[in-house]
Symmetry: C2
């Protein structure tokens, strides 16, 4: 298990001595717990993501986990932040793969976000979003984080697709349309299988995005 934790409190002082081994181990255990919680969200759903199964999936005793996260909501809070960072980073990375000026940004964007909404990270976020509808405590954690995510995601898109910059409203429309179509498709697959018809919707979406990129309105 790679340690690879975020150096949260290492200031400007001595390089590695400042971060003791315990702190590193603690951080890695925290990440282990967070990733176990996300796996539980994907495999079992929010309701059955209990502290018992999180600890089991992390390979820890329940008491040990409660040492790092005294309450369940603390794990959820950490998972929300973790997913926020991971999803945004993955999106930027996928979009930055083809920096060429002649790259097909429309196809890249559609396929990139299509892959995104089928990724376990989106599934985990989605489980929490649905639960938050009827759970005020979860909503208080998730909504501000999601608002920040959407803002940063929008800014990243503007940055990565510079040719859209002058399009103004068309960019916003294409952005929103893509989001709703792709999220709607992904979520519809909860109850039915993907068919050839769905591929036609994706092709049609790309076609309309190209129109929006070409015209001025």
């Amino acid at each position: 298990m790679a340690i690879n934790h975020n150096e949260k409190s290492t200031g400007a002082n001595a390089a590695s001595a400042a971060v003791g081994w315990q702190a590193q181990k603690s951080a890695s255990t925290r990440q282990l717990i967070i990733e176990a919680a996300i796996k539980c969200l994907v495999d079992l759903g929010y309701a059955r993501t209990t502290t018992t199964v999180i600890a089991a999936k992390a390979g820890l005793a329940r008491g040990a986990m409660l040492h790092h996260f005294p309450s369940k909501i603390g794990i959820i809070r950490a998972a929300v932040d973790y997913l926020h960072a991971k999803r945004l980073r993955a999106f930027r990375k996928a979009m930055a793969k083809e920096p060429g000026a002649g790259a097909d940004h429309v196809r890249m964007g559609v396929e990139g976000y299509w892959a995104h909404v089928k990724h376990p990270w989106f599934v985990a976020f989605f489980e929490m979003a649905v639960a938050a509808r009827t759970d005020k405590e979860l909503a208080a954690i998730l909504f501000p984080a999601q608002e920040a995510f959407e803002h940063e995601w929008y800014q990243a898109s503007l940055e990565l697709f510079p040719e859209w910059k002058r399009k103004g409203e068309n960019f916003v429309l294409g952005f929103d349309l893509s989001r709703y179509v792709l999220e709607g498709m992904a979520i519809s697959f909860l109850t039915h299988k993907e068919t050839e018809r769905d591929k036609r919707v994706l092709r049609y979406l790309e076609e309309k995005l190209r129109e929006l990129a070409g015209e001025d309105r």
Copy 2:
């Protein structure tokens, strides 16, 4: 909401006499329980829809409810069938309001399904669909019902919008596109508020549907 079981002495026909008051009362109590369960799904989500709160919301003792539905999954099964029938009937009714040949079927369809996905019946179905992702027993009940619903819904759309009949693939594409956009929008509103931008997406969808209805491809 009208239970329609008060006909115990007014009908006085062989039909109503054969049914018997007990059977009618039983049926009305069953419906009361089903509707209470749906309210719980909307208000509390699937996970917190327990037999205790269903009975409380129905105004019954738990033992009384267990007499009509020996198990929780039985209530869920009945609620799935109830929602199936109600949603389909409501869709047909809303679409049939303007039978004129000059009616704006595109706007009617978009606004009709937009209203549909914001209705509590869709919310209740959606809660079960999400739970079914990680609950095999629920999935075994919901998926066949949903498959039947989608087929009947598609047939009803073909029937109600006869001018699309000759369009073939364009009808299928418009049907799928509308579905994904509108469901995606409705579900996105779990985590953020509706804005002016979303109305533009709806107008754009209508515009594209008109194109699809007009052209042949």
